[in-house]
Symmetry: C2
Subunit: 327 residues, 2 copies
């Protein structure tokens, strides 16, 4: 299980560079996530526990803690936990929607315990997120998380609407990624500020959005290029699910026959061979370059934000980490 270590690469460098407050905070988030998913009887403990144990990069809680800074305290821990719970809930539900068998190299809750239990488990994680954040008592915090959760659901609906459409525009793809991914990164950054009542910091919000988009772009590249033993899922999973992503959109403009593809009823082998064909156009490298450009823009936005030198440096490391996966 190559992706199940608790502290994956992009996070490690940040934790090493930060003061003890950050590793301590991340450990507290991890502990809290464990408590919350263990505390509801065996069903949830099994399913959510498996989701939790599968690890993941914990980038979103990291952004909350970094944006809150060393003085964030328990309120920042709760906000970080809430953001990760929403993320986990959407993963569990996305896997129901996509019918995905594997996530991070392990069976999804939907595959393990049935779609029925996965729907309820996702709902539970979602509710728990608001329960956790609600105890912070900040109106702005609840507003941020709930409007972001609305965006996540709209993003999922947009993905369904656009499924199998090999002619979708780059703009439409980016809009969907904005809803599905970038908003939660932005929310993480803004929540970190909101826990001590600070006003929204537009530059930090922009930073979050850009690295969220970069993260999604790279995820979509990795779905095409693999390697499967690092990503924890087979190449071409998006294609099998009818999800048209930027590597295919870019490749399609270079190899127009790709637009004629019928993605319905693909088998895994054909999906892998389409991945090879996409890769042959050089599209993955183009998209990776786009992601790097976004990371650079994100870092420039940090320059204009009201942050300490340490905060700026650590957030920059996170931004770098986002595109340095399996480069």
């Amino acid at each position: 299980m190559p992706r199940s270590s608790t502290v994956p690469p992009p996070v490690t460098s940040v934790l090493e560079a930060a003061g003890t407050w950050l590793p301590r905070g991340m450990a507290a988030v991890e502990e809290r996530l464990g408590e919350l998913t263990a505390g509801h009887g065996t069903t949830l403990a099994d399913d959510a526990g498996a989701t939790l144990a599968a690890g993941g990069k914990r980038l979103r809680p990291l952004l909350v803690l970094l944006s809150a800074g060393p003085a964030g305290g328990d309120a920042a821990i709760r906000a970080a936990t809430a953001v990760e719970l929403v993320h986990m809930a959407t993963l569990v539900h996305d896997d129901v929607i996509d019918g995905a068998p594997l996530r991070r190299g392990r069976p999804t809750v939907a595959a393990r315990s049935g779609r029925e239990r996965a729907v309820a488990t996702g709902d539970l994680l979602f509710s728990r997120a608001f329960a956790e954040l609600g105890s912070n008592g900040g109106e702005r915090q609840v507003e941020l998380l709930s409007s972001t959760a609305v965006a996540l659901a709209l993003g999922e609906l947009a993905q369904r609407r656009d499924a199998y459409d090999t002619s979708i525009s780059r703009e439409r793809y980016l809009e969907r990624c904005g809803l599905k991914t970038a908003r939660l990164f932005e929310c993480a950054c803004l929540l970190g500020r909101a826990v001590d009542g600070a006003a929204d910091e537009p530059e930090l919000a922009g930073f979050g959005r850009e690295i969220g988009l970069a993260f999604q772009l790279l995820d979509d590249v990795l779905d095409v290029t693999g390697p499967a033993e690092r990503t924890g899922k087979a190449r071409g999973t998006d294609l099998l699910d009818g999800t048209v992503t930027l590597p295919l959109i870019v490749a399609r403009d270079r190899d127009p026959e790709l637009e004629q593809l019928d993605l319905r009823g693909l088998d895994e082998r054909t999906a892998e061979s389409i991945c090879d064909r996409i890769a042959a156009t050089g599209a993955p490298e183009t998209v990776r370059e786009d992601a790097r450009g976004r990371v650079a823009r994100a870092k420039r936005r940090l320059a204009g934000a009201a942050l300490s030198g340490e905060e700026r440096e650590l957030l920059s490391l996170v931004a770098d980490g986002v595109v340095e996966r399996y480069a």
Copy 2:
């Protein structure tokens, strides 16, 4: 569509007895629900709009407004809207889980648009609920709704865990109904008080729980007795879904062969004939009596609550309405 009128029987008598503030408040909730489900593009408008148009009794928002009283204002409208949105979200997700074809005589979102879209639509309604409530800014309000949403999901998981088990105890059944139904009624009553910062009123909470249980008991009776043209779904829907309810539990103790039934792979005709057999034991009337007893207890609890005479009278009418459906 016999159940789709906007103001169904149990609510009518209350609206007639109340001052103009209550019908006006309920109309405002309806309008707000319409705005929120229409405001997210066509996909949601279609699916959530269909859920909304299918009506329902709107008992939960009614309880919020009644508990808040005439001075509840916009905050009470928002809380009432949030409670109904959570209820709608759970209906949409329950129908995914149960694979139910009809709800209130109309196709479910899962049946209309696929399970995939139904999962995302439920998530959207759910997120919208917290967005709506969050703008009230009360910590206690978010705590109430989120802990209730946790209970709802646990209730759904309990229902899955106990599915097809014809030997479950009455206590386990009641515990599940407590999570699945009674908690949201209780939450509605407490939210109504919380909107103007009043402390929790334990007698009112108890009132909400008892009528919630009575409501669920009667629902379970109606699943056995129909008539289908009033309930909007075929008799025996619970049995087809493997859900063992109190009428079967009571009947089983009188006709032990019922415990030997294998509910897996039932067809609709067999499910209806099991309903007849349950009815032959007199179990539905026993359960209906139980529900009436709970309504009586609920009304006694009102006597001890800090309420105006009008509030007490109107809440009593709601309690009566809960068991007067198709009596």
